[in-house]
Symmetry: D2
Subunit: 350 residues, 4 copies
């Protein structure tokens, strides 16, 4: 008798568990009492560590519970309420945050631009700027450029490209934001310095994700902009985003940034995706996008989608016929191979 | 040579650590992968457990990272943006949340009423209602009554009193909210059923705190109102208050509600405060408020404040001359006795 | 010696003056004193008149000072703050209101769809619906369909088409909004009953413009939806949109709706545009859009744009090379003929 | 047989009509066409005139349709969304604007202080400051001081007192706002230069009312602060507060500021109130507040309230037993005398 196949997790990297180092750091943080709301020792250490890792002596870090909070509160410190935030139409802030940026900015709007690979081409940005009625209250004034890296389609915005985009924005007096929910995956893949894809590429404020990368519940806003930093303290509090026992978030982030744990975990997830894609290609399945980090997109017919699900693969069908598989720090080679075997069976190539 | 005295923690119950049961529950939750955003097993169990503990079969629980989030998002589901939220002038939402309720409700205002012991007297509420221009857009229409129990002054609103207040509010078509950041302390002190100080006393939506009571970072909105529950899913998401790995918050809350852990921990904090007050009274220090849970308020001259601080007591001076000491689940009898000894020395009564 | 040519006004119908009937109505309203904020006689008469003209016995009218106010406040009464408002990408609310709908709704977002003639095709709407993650807080839930008629490109959405669109929206539980800043021009052109392009076509709330049509400063929200009507009183007040001397706005609207003045004025503007287009076609200039009301769009090279401006034609260049000419109730045949003569000269076809 | 008495208007100065000069100015403005949204000649002239009248060469004026808009949008340009606006508890923004300041500022809160005569005493302000946790996100940071002059109780804040209050606020880094809905009445009563009760007394931004003073519907924000001015253009537009035919508002304000019309009209209203109070005192009725402009407050028993109303006096009973009578530019001596005769009859002193 055939049993039910063990599920293999590809729904999201946030479906994965917490890595042991983070769990240990939480336990270690639980010694005695400590002042609340970030006035503790661990948060001070994290502050220091972020400045070292990002090679920026004035960077300020604000740990938060969710990536949506990091994005929306971070953007609110950059964008006046009458401004617009220019982003790619696939950006998480545009598609999956239920209007958080508009709420927390007090009414700013998103101006979503198209472009292949989840990225805005410089020419597209310039065209949008040329269409804009600048300095005219009849239009929401473009005030912030928000870039996702890696994008929601799993591609990496090259540091040079990022610099070009932020340069265009800055030439219009705009400020710049990076949604780095999976920044670790990009940095691990690029092998660059963290500064190269952030402030050195012209970014003012970024969301830095750790939850998807083996954290328990700790993302952060990292601000390279003094004016934004000054506002963020208040903006976070009034949005309910200053946990009293903040030290337990700081502990997670500190563990991540110690001994390159964040990059090692991300590299594992990236490698798992690469292995998956290699196997899928052998089965004749070509991803819709180049796989540069830990996300794989496939166009599949409805029958295949169903069959793969029945074979125990856990994944999301984003829109009818478009499937996303995400690997995590926890995905093992054995799981990938098992998944590929099942896929082969489903596709009749076993 | 005299060494520096070990600090004794009375700043806040959120300065305390995480209790072992909660830490164990977090570790236990970290098995395999799980769907994000509350679609997991533990959150389902928590849902069930909340319904049992509060004896309400339609109660819905929404774990969140902070008490401010619980209050402000919860209120936003009760109050139209043009409404006013009636509360006591000492209420946390009025004094310490940096306008969160106004932000998240889209512009609702607070109408703060005075009254002894941090409580609104029914007559005061009736008077406020009599002064109101009802059904007239020239005034923010009172739409929600928000009561804190225990209050920010550490007193308990008796269930009967609560019922009277919510009854008055309901007679005006208003909805009702309870800030239960320390509800455990009130229920432990009253020895009543949790329902008696919540929905049976007329409450529609409440904030349920666990963080101050030995949690790591898990409070919750508990809704007894179907209309509010339906909105909360969206209101939380767009405020960045739906953690992807929600199960680790659910695990904490579930541990709390298992075997009455929440009440046992709160009872410990209450007992520590009672012991402290008894000792202080012997020293001639009479608290400003009756001490019904775990908070003690004292009027002290500046020299005494300084001397106590130098003696290693950690506490907050709320406004010049008014000091607050808070005990927690972690406060030991030995700490209380040590603190009293130091206080006696400071006061020259050693 | 050649003098400077008298300017001919095509910038906007809001550049035109106030028609004599409206001015007389204002003067007539200035007799004695009257209660403020809409409790006056004229506002009551307007209420009655709107119900007659739109053949809807529960319609409620709320005069406001601007079209943006009518749109944004009207939409705020239809859309929950976590919802999205589906509209055409050329819609005034999307392009020219500086985020007003997001502000006044408390954070709702716009979801702009493409389509020829400034109109959403039913298939486009269905496709957008098919892509939506319904009942999922990870996406702003489509909550309102907002249609402009006539569109910002000067085309009319046929009543049947409007009904199809609102029917699709309603099948998803959405509510419906009409931006009728120039509704008079559409009704005049269609020769239909006002109800046919509004509530009988499935509209819940609309903006009704009079300012562009010979008013001094009086647009209105007309609500066919009791729930929205109840909210609007408060939403208008808290947005600063309830003038104390409201009767002077009501007087304008009442004059408009008396003896079909609104339709007669709009018909004049429409006729002027038709005359203009006929002449332009003879000169070889084909409008970019069909001219169904009082707006004409032309693609012109930079030299022609400059020459026409130098010849005294007042118009807007919306984006480089795209020119809009708008006629009004005040535009005379002589002006059109004069403008055409000048254009002929510029184009070398004199 | 006795007929019904002609009503005498004391409900509000906004119940009065439009003065002939303003009506004439509107008619005169209706010549030809003009660019919209304030780009017209009359608005430019108004700008110049405001700078002359207020003796401030950088003042910027923004005409709006309502006083609530002037207050709430003006405040939004001064107060960060996490700030608090300190005002008197009787202030219009606190009592009668339905939360407009919170909406338009994106969540700022009001901190209302008590004090006799509708005024904040300097000591009360200092006490409030001493209680504040400055530079701490746990409290809404006091960011704006808003003073009403004349107050909602009809008293005048002396220029020196105003200077003291704004000085205290400025020493804390706060900005300052004046609700001058009836500023004309205060300036007329004081006989001072308009600058003396505004920017020379430390005011950054003010609401300047004309509607209650014989206008048709034209108040204004006047900004003496460049940063606020730059924001106001956008803040007004996105709130729906930039009328397309703005010139008709500018025309009204310009007429007001020509030949001291605003002061002459206000002086008339003030004189009428003085005459009324003199007569009431003879009848033994002492106003609750000193009558410094055009508002009279009386404490009356229910029977007297009813009898006066039946005698044809139109007024508001603000709360049970407290009656307000307001005179206007239109109130005649004959009306005052008639009203006093009727009051005498009611009071049995005929």
């Amino acid at each position: 008798m055939r049993g039910v196949a063990t599920p293999i997790e590809f729904r999201s990297d946030n479906a994965a568990g917490v890595c042991p180092e983070v769990l240990a750091a939480i336990a270690a943080a639980n010694v005695g009492s400590a002042p609340g709301y970030g006035a503790d020792e661990l948060t001070a250490q994290l502050q220091q560590r972020v400045r070292e890792v990002f090679a920026h002596r004035d960077a300020e870090v604000f740990p938060v519970a969710t990536g949506t909070a990091a994005n929306a509160v971070g953007l609110s410190a950059l964008c006046p309420p009458w401004g617009s935030i220019v982003c790619h139409e696939s950006a998480h802030i545009n598609v999956h945050e239920c209007g958080a940026a508009s709420l927390l900015s007090g009414g700013a709007v998103l101006r979503a631009l198209p472009g292949p690979h989840g990225q805005i081409a410089p020419a597209t940005l310039e065209h949008a700027f040329a269409q804009t009625w600048w300095d005219d209250p009849h239009q929401s004034q473009p005030a912030v450029l928000s870039v996702v890296c890696p994008t929601d389609l799993g591609t990496i915005v090259a540091p040079k490209q990022l610099q070009t985009l932020t340069g265009l924005a800055r030439s219009r007096g705009m400020r710049t934001h990076l949604d780095g929910a999976r920044l670790a995956n990009a940095v691990a893949a690029l092998g660059c310095a963290p500064a190269d894809v952030t402030w050195r590429a012209g970014i003012d404020v970024m969301s830095f994700g750790a939850t998807k990368n083996g954290g328990m519940g700790a993302d952060a806003i990292v601000s390279f902009d003094a004016r934004a930093s000054a506002e963020l303290r208040y903006r976070l509090k009034r949005a309910g985003h200053v946990p009293s026992k903040l030290r337990f978030l700081s502990a997670q982030l500190l563990a991540m940034l110690t001994d390159d744990l964040w990059l090692r975990l991300a590299a594992r997830a990236n490698a798992a995706a690469a292995r998956l894609v290699a196997g899928l290609r052998e089965l004749g399945l070509v991803p819709l996008e180049r796989t540069e980090v830990n996300m794989v997109f496939l166009a599949l017919d409805a029958a295949t989608v169903t069959a793969l699900a029945q074979a125990g693969l856990l994944f999301h069908e984003l829109t009818p016929g478009t499937v996303r598989l995400v690997t995590s720090w926890q995905t093992t080679d054995a799981e990938i191979d098992d998944a590929l075997t099942r896929a082969a069976t489903v596709l009749g190539r076993g």
